[in-house]
Symmetry: D2
Subunit: 304 residues, 4 copies
């Protein structure tokens, strides 16, 4: 298949498309981004790298980091992890307290904020230096040790984390947070402020397309069985209140972030990422959703 041709088509279509999305503005650091940034990168198991646009510019990965923290936690723990966080789609906005209250402090899944905070709590309990080890994990799966957080984004999010502090306190009242709230919140904000490019993210996501192994040297980062489960969670819960829509239109497991990034995979085939900062009303990159929908339409195959 002529992947570069397909990507060029997507780029051309995207340039003439109207985009009514809005850049995330809840923290000043995210609001400052150039809204016209747009990049895409496709990394195929059989045929390597394709891309266009701002594919090499780093952006704030935000919630996409939840996939990495979940992977790290699942590599440390087995099923006991899922006694503290469920794997069901939420049906409510990503930072909702409502289901959490009805369901006794057990978050619906690891990709809503509450669930990611429980995962952060697990990492604080299990790792000596959780911030560094999480960053190291991104270095290992990308082969790039220059990946780092944006300290301005980190500081800015720390100052606007009342909603997450509320979730943490609520879960602590139910006994589902074991560590100090401040420490857990610190790790969570840290992971959200990591910056990566489309190309780096696609490289990182190859382990999810390749049964848990790095493509470069066949290192098994995490078992194939666990990768399948992470992919299943991405499929049903990766896009906030729009997971069904993404599954319906795109048909791939993936995860989005409010920085405008989306990473998705076709198991056994490829990892793909897109970045455009303007978000649709559900909080997902409007152009990124479109680009991925066009990819599976033009290639004619999705996981379904």
């Amino acid at each position: 298949m002529e992947y570069q041709q397909i990507l060029d088509t997507i780029k051309a279509e995207s340039l003439i498309r109207s985009n009514t999305g809005k850049v995330a503005s809840y923290i000043p650091q995210l609001a400052k981004i150039d809204p016209e940034k747009f990049g895409m990168h496709l990394y195929c198991i059989n045929s390597g790298h394709y891309g266009f646009g701002d594919e090499n510019e780093r952006f704030s990965i935000q919630s996409i980091s939840k996939v990495f923290s979940l992977t790290l936690a699942m590599s440390l723990l087995d099923n006991e992890l899922f006694e503290r966080v469920d794997v069901e789609p939420s049906g409510d906005p990503f930072n909702s307290l409502i289901q959490l209250e009805y369901e006794n402090g057990i978050p619906r899944n690891p990709f809503i904020n509450a669930g990611a905070l429980v995962i952060a709590d697990v990492l604080v309990s299990s790792l000596k230096n959780p911030k560094q080890e999480l960053l190291d994990f991104t270095h290992k799966i990308t082969g790039d040790t220059t990946i780092d957080i944006n300290p301005n984004v980190f500081d800015s999010e720390k100052k606007h984390s009342y909603r997450n502090a509320s979730l943490l306190n609520l879960m602590k009242s139910f006994g589902n947070i074991k560590n100090d709230i401040e420490t857990v919140l610190d790790l969570y904000v840290y992971q959200c402020s990591i910056e990566m490019s489309c190309k780096e993210l696609a490289t990182a996501f190859m382990i999810y397309a390749n049964s848990g192994k790095q493509l470069t040297d066949d290192t098994q980062i995490i078992s194939a069985r666990k990768i399948k489960r992470i992919n299943a969670i991405m499929q049903t819960c990766g896009f906030y209140d729009e997971a069904g829509e993404f599954s319906f239109r795109v048909g791939l497991p993936g995860k989005s972030g409010v920085g405008g990034g989306i990473a998705a995979i076709h198991p056994g085939q490829y990892a793909v990422t897109a970045w455009s900062p303007k978000l649709n009303p559900k909080g997902n990159s409007e152009l990124g959703m479109y680009a991925l929908e066009r990819l599976t339409t033009l290639t004619g195959f999705s996981i379904f």
Copy 2:
């Protein structure tokens, strides 16, 4: 792969497994079923039929019929269908009125009762004889014209349909039901009372595994693009409040019914069904879930 051997293993494991599920009892006709019934059938694109147990005994397909009615409605209408029903997982029990009220009478997806009632309303609007045409559809995709409803189940459900009448009236108050409530309810109860065996259901579900085509003669029943979308909805919404769990443990698109049946598919590979009447607390067949989980574990591959 030695499919029959794998199925025999699943059967043997299942026989020694404790099963705390309960047979659905909201209508007497369902409560009367022998709780020890157990059958499974696998229909592979490349290698044909495998099965065991009560695979040839017909049972009440109940909510599995929602896949057929959705398929019929999607073959008649295009995207306008999804202005009246969404494709997001629900996060609430299958017959909940709550999200419906918050979301102005637009059901979350076509597989919760409210959504299936909207689909039934669409069929009433679009077809001359909707009951017969829906039954004909099952005849066409199975090649078996003896498939029929169970009139006792039909009568029994008609007498216990206050909750569905409540949903219909609520949606009608929002303008999302166009026809007479009694007529729509009648069609919905009719489709739920269809009886099929595991083997017949697996044969019917082959069109979802085979890009919309019948395996026997390559007839395109519905377009490949629409089949992908139906599969995506099965993946995210097919198991009531346990869709994530099924995706996590089994990793296939599928649909369950309170009669104890489950049908699932691996696109490009096979359709598979299991039947055991004892339901877990979420309303899905306990042993059926287990059997399908074992299938993807023992074969070592799911869509993820």
Copy 3:
């Protein structure tokens, strides 16, 4: 106290007040009313009748009828009535299905629609001719046998009662409606379409101000103990989602209707009614609320 002077002041103030309320429009018959209608009537135990404006023109009493049907039901039954309907304020709009679903079909109180429908069901079970006997009750407590329903309002509401049919079906699924849904709905719509004037309503409400006795001839219509309980329910639940606001600003037990009427009482002192069809966003008469607030402010005394 110079009651007529106080009423004249309220009238004068009201005429120069801007009123952003909207006439109820969910049925055509209510939408047709002249929005500038305004009347008020005060009936004091010690000093008789005062009033102004359209105090003698009949209007659709709508939900105010729920006080009469509750009174009739409480005169027939004792505490067992409150096993089927609670006495707590609702915190949700008057026709919400949500709390009903969470609370197993037991309505929050007799003044939300669900609760009034349970009361109607009780009357259908207990009375030979519930429609006539309810109308007779209004004749008895007013001394006016010409009070009747408006048949156009009745027909119009019957055609727009999907939401109430939804509530009835939902409660029937929980076993909390004993009679045929159609019959119960018919009685409920009937009671809502009764027409009375401000003066007639104030006369009727005198039994709530006068410990259950008619002022004219001391007939005990219902026990003083039960009247206290009805008054308590009016205080906490009489104004939909604005009961607290009415209590806070006016400080009297009362009941409003979407026809723009409000009836309230000061136990041991007076009954008072106001009518102005323009409703505030919570569904209560905007000018009626104001008029009653001014009454307790200018007289300087409320029940608190």
Copy 4:
């Protein structure tokens, strides 16, 4: 009326009554209380003091303190206070986050925890030394300067305040908390740990029965108009999710606390308090509710 005789009857009846309530146990300090404690005190405008049992033993007033903090806040601010907290009953448990989330961080009323935390925030903004000034307020309205907090209860509650910290963070995310979360929480826990006896509480509540004036020397503590409004809030919101039940059975404005205390008033007549630590499932003193119901039944008059 022979008030002491009525109180003696209530005492005698209470002693032979079974009590299935449970002492609050969420903090060890409250769990340690002798569950058999029982006292009642009635303070009449015209005839002075009556009482029995443990009426002079101090207990943790807990949420009853919310009446004092609201009174202090209303004496400092006027209607602008009610832009930050509503006056509607809640329909949800006292510490629920749900309505708060749906209603953009504006608590339903000042007596649910969220509302009392907003009031505490107001006091932190308005007073130089809010803890001392709140304690001084209890000294002024009782004439007893020995009233103080229980430091063990204070410390114990501080360690178990995750739920309140969650509420504060959630409201801060909506901009409805202006001060440092720790400071506001500190004041709130402080006020809850104040200890008073039945007699002291009844004396304090006399200002609510006496139009805002102290009975001893006619000092106007707060305007009659504001007192009426506080009484209205007590009537509709004073008993968590059981305000309607209390209004229905007792018919007086009042406020309860998880320490087992209840304070209520009959405007123009009396203030009355009861204390028994065993709580019913809604969190109100079971015997206290009974005692007050008997009081209004035996005296034959409530505000209704």
